[in-house]
Subunit: 233 residues, 2 copies
DNA sequence: GCCCGGAGGTGTACGGCGTACACCTAGTGG
DNA sequence: CCACTAGGTGTACGCCGTACACCTCCGGGC
């Protein structure tokens, strides 16, 4: 059915349109509803048609990651390595936050695409340009881990609180009695933002806290010309 | 069919046997082959029988995580907070390494189980016992992120290299020309371990490198009585 | 001795998934 | 004019999780 109902002809699909449709679908219906069938329907086409543009679902997911990575700003130049990298990572973070499903998909990919390698390569290059030794750069990339993408695994996924303040208070009392330490820091976080109780922390603050801790640590090692020789067993 | 072929009676299932069978199945056939159907077959039972012991597959996965968390050593006492936490996290790491699929499952759980909360609560308690303020403890937990589990997201999943050294060298040349920076650190890593080329880094070293960088950073903040008040926007 | 309730196991069925394979069709270059 | 091909179709298969109705024992109360 190349003809539309009104007789006009649907523009033929291509890989790019497929990938962007998949991203859009994930954005507004959740990544779990990105199935070949749903996506095909969204594009007004039969499921098997998609296979003319992507080899299989894995490749579709890889492509979706590439679309997100494409939204990351290019590196700023004219600054020191630390703020350049900081900015780049925070840009990645913004891109990922626009597509809340994306970090899950990134983590699920068994091997990086060329586009992903491009991004990682450029981050490595920024450390090298900042004078980091190959050795230190290597370990530093590992230490960043998924933080180069601008996300940290949430330990306490923010589950929506019950509406009723009474049951909410009861839930908190139970939490406090079994997990006093967790309750304590949850309280502190809540107090920080003036909300009554719980319901999440300031993600942005937490992310930058950890990022800066690492970057400062890297900086120290770099200044004192750290090398893995000394520390190896 | 409660009777076995030899006439003896199969011991009735229970939640624990189901969970341990699931872990065993994941261990030796990969987590992707843990389906209700496969698991049931492994237990000599019909798929629907499992639903008498776990509510659904999600709960099965939660239970599998609990089994792994149960393998983590209890906290050592009689040492300073830093080495106590370090040891505990490295114990978690060993548990997870025994079940290579487990970190993926842990990451996929939308909300923590009671057992998981117990573990996290006790880690928080260890920081508190070390004299950390509630405030600092909170941010420090975020900074650790998935590292409290003893894993970091691998940026370059080690894909098996081609056998033939010639095609291997060719692959590496291509890598080097498109991703010079990555090639450089890959070379360094390979050189470190005397292997010819690539094929992974010393995971244990990388993990402890990052962990100690963080713990030392925490230590500094703690000593200088850091508080989030000063740094908040 | 009887019954009955519930725990544990069974069988069938449904709707969803990814995708192999054979097919059709419209447009293009020779 | 015709063969080729890129793009789209239709059917079918084997997985998946699980709802629902059922059966079959076993133990406890009468």
């Amino acid at each position: 059915m190349v003809q539309q109902l009104d007789g006009t002809r649907r523009a033929p699909l291509n890989r790019d349109r497929v990938l962007h449709a998949a991203v859009a679908l994930a954005d507004h219906s959740g990544v779990e509803s990105v199935s070949m069938r749903n996506l095909a329907q969204e594009l007004g086409v039969v499921p098997m048609a998609l296979y003319k543009h992507v080899a299989n679902k894995e490749e579709l997911l890889d492509g979706m990651v590439d679309v997100i990575v494409g939204e990351i700003d290019p590196p700023a130049d004219g600054t020191d390595w630390k703020s350049a990298i900081r900015q780049r990572i925070l840009s990645a973070r913004r891109a990922l936050l626009r597509h809340p499903w994306s970090w899950r998909v990134i983590e699920s990919r068994p091997k990086p695409t060329l586009v992903v390698l491009d991004y990682l390569n450029s981050i490595v290059g920024m450390f090298r340009a900042g004078g980091f030794s190959v050795d230190l750069t290597h370990h530093v990339m590992h230490a960043l881990g998924s933080r180069v993408w601008g996300f940290t695994q949430e330990l306490f996924p923010a589950s929506p609180l019950p509406e009723d303040p009474e049951t909410q208070a009861a839930a908190f009392r139970e939490l406090a009695s079994r997990y006093p330490h967790i309750a304590e820091i949850a309280m502190a976080a809540a107090h920080d933002q003036g909300s009554v109780v719980g319901q999440g922390c300031d993600d942005e603050f937490e992310f930058e806290f950890a990022l800066d801790l690492l970057l400062d640590g890297f900086d120290n090692l770099h200044r004192q010309e750290w090398t893995s020789r000394g520390t190896r067993s």
